[in-house]
Symmetry: C3
Subunit: 279 residues, 3 copies
């Protein structure tokens, strides 16, 4: 019996998430079911992809994630289960949701869900809620051991998965470049795609000053000097800092402030960030 | 041991829901407790009634629901437990919360909660939070088997339950009529009271055009032609469609848009919708 | 095995809460994990302190609470586990979060978390998310019995805990005084610090009129007469009332209205309220 963890863009205001829970409990009342988040902005596959990467390795090996951000429900997009190199499973439409997991942790194997065997009995007339009828049902059966990964359906080539456009973070001379992947929603911090290990190649020490430059598409929209610090508490209230976030990547914040709102910055593949040490 | 599922209009910002959980855990630490939603708009009994109907049958037979939308707490409104014809239990104030369940699934039996036996010990001086002191407590005892349905209290005639005013969906010549029961909150779709089976009597096929007409009280406030489709993916982004929702009723949406906001439409018994095939 | 209950100011929009859950499940997959709330306003230690007091005794003795409102993460603020006189445990930064629990229920014993023994393996390079790496990890080990309270770390003097400024409620002649501690968020009621037992010393009976006077710092900003009632249902819709809330303290509300918004009133140590019987 493995944990089952649900993610969606359904919100918590109506009964959609509860219906998924009910289906999973019906598969096996002993299942332990938990949430990633259900507040992914509607249709935002990028955010769904990122949140999976944010939490994956804090859950035990064998955990089964179900992620339902599914604007293409009812089209011919495939339904798949991926096994990551870390030994976790993800049940999801094949629409880019696995992009960050693939880049950060690697996908070991993918199988297409054979809907003739893996569909809630009696749901054949339902075309708009695969989260309940296929994904929660299949995830619950996998997590409970009622079915096996091999039995999900035929094996697919991971290289053929739909991918979101992602620019890999890179060193450019005395600088590192990446994108603003997401916000730490409540505190307004910018979480970049730049790993700590890449940044450390610049030889910056805690307490040093670093220039942050942000481009939206091709236009520089923000530049500022910030202090590289262990944590918020190392700088004054209202002061900006560069730090290593809980995903082991570089992040930029204002202590007790809201960096993204202060400088009208956004997130996604079109938001580029460059870090240059001040010498 | 059956699952316990909680619903309320308390929101998740304070400790009210957690207090209900604590009481239930205190009844039996082995209970599995889940949520329907706690974001029912304050005092909105209609919405509470609808959400129960949205999820009921996706939970196993024997599941005990506790629903606390209770503007009359402290008045002489009764507290009841209903057994539906589907074999589920609902613990609730008798204020109309059972209306949609009765119309769609049927109520097999109702009992009044005898508060002398079914009240959290030590809560006799508390008059404002029956959700915690009576409903969660009684629901947990029922779900865990610490008490039985027969022991809840005296049997009531289901016909005497408080009901919300509901107009039954109906065929009128070449059209079907119903009400806009609720919104699919995140996506702005209108969920009507018209069952798929009633609509199919019109002989409409997928791909056919249908005229949607909406009246608020006696005034027509919206009319448009939409395509009857399997799912959102069958129409263009920005195009309107009529489809069968996950409750097996007719719904109207704009693919990637927000129908209710686009045309300033509301929900409830005063919002009437008519569907007429375009010949 | 005791229940584990999590509280934070992280919100439910990203993966932070789920990462804490994953860590706890990794400690022991059989743990029962629940929430208090994760919608504490960012950095609002007062609110975190109050919410713990709101729910504590509705959970069984032995329950382990983890509360992460932690603006000082990365500073030299201590991490502690408190045992209350009621036999509950609270894992938290030492920043005032225990204030209401101490005043209302009493703290029996406090221990500093020894991070050399009580830290998620592999998290040594993480300085910004003690909620996941120390608090959830330690709370899960305590709740599951993998460690004992004595083994958390050295004992501290409870008198040395960081405290928020709190004015004790008091009798002043024919009146009682206290503060507006919080709002019942969804319904707009003011929850005061005045216990029912203190208020009852005034000899007021249900149905009597009471004058409510509110001061912000030193200025009277509101005064009104309200009816002392059992519950909302005892007054008309739109009428104001004084009642005993679910924490056994005095509260002020408008039936179906929003008292705080109606009169622009706030909460916290600078908002004083006086209740005087109308004779």
């Amino acid at each position: 019996m493995n944990p089952l963890v649900l993610q969606s863009d359904f919100g918590l205001d109506d009964g959609a998430v509860s219906a998924m829970y009910g289906v999973a409990v019906g598969v096996d009342p002993a299942l332990r079911i938990h949430d990633l988040t259900h507040n992914i902005p509607p249709y935002d596959i990028w955010e769904g992809s990122y949140r999976l990467a944010q939490v994956l390795t804090y859950w035990p090996e064998g955990t089964v994630f179900v992620s339902v951000v599914d604007p293409g429900v009812g089209s011919d997009r495939l339904s798949v289960v991926a096994r990551t190199r870390t030994g976790h499973y993800v049940v999801t439409p094949d629409n880019g949701t696995l992009t960050h997991l693939e880049d950060i942790f690697g996908i070991a194997e993918v199988r297409e869900i054979d809907e003739t065997r893996n569909r809630r009995p009696g749901s054949e007339e339902s075309y708009t809620f695969h989260g309940r009828d296929i994904y929660a049902f299949t995830g619950a059966r996998l997590a409970s051991g009622a079915t096996t990964f091999a039995d999900v359906g035929r094996s697919l080539d991971p290289a053929q998965l739909v991918r979101l456009p992602v620019t890999a973070p890179a060193r450019r001379g005395d600088a590192v470049e990446g994108t603003i992947d997401t916000l730490d929603v409540r505190y307004g911090s910018l979480w970049t795609s730049i790993p700590r290990t890449l940044f450390r190649e610049l030889g910056v020490e805690r307490g040093d000053r670093v220039t942050v430059r942000v481009r939206h598409h091709d236009t520089v929209v923000h530049a500022a000097q910030v202090t590289y610090a262990h944590s918020f508490a190392a700088v004054e209230v209202g002061e900006s800092l560069l730090y290593v976030n809980s995903l082991d990547r570089m992040a930029i914040a204002i202590n007790r402030g809201h960096y993204a709102r202060a400088f009208s910055l956004g997130t996604g593949a079109s938001w580029h960030v460059t870090l240059v040490p001040v010498r």
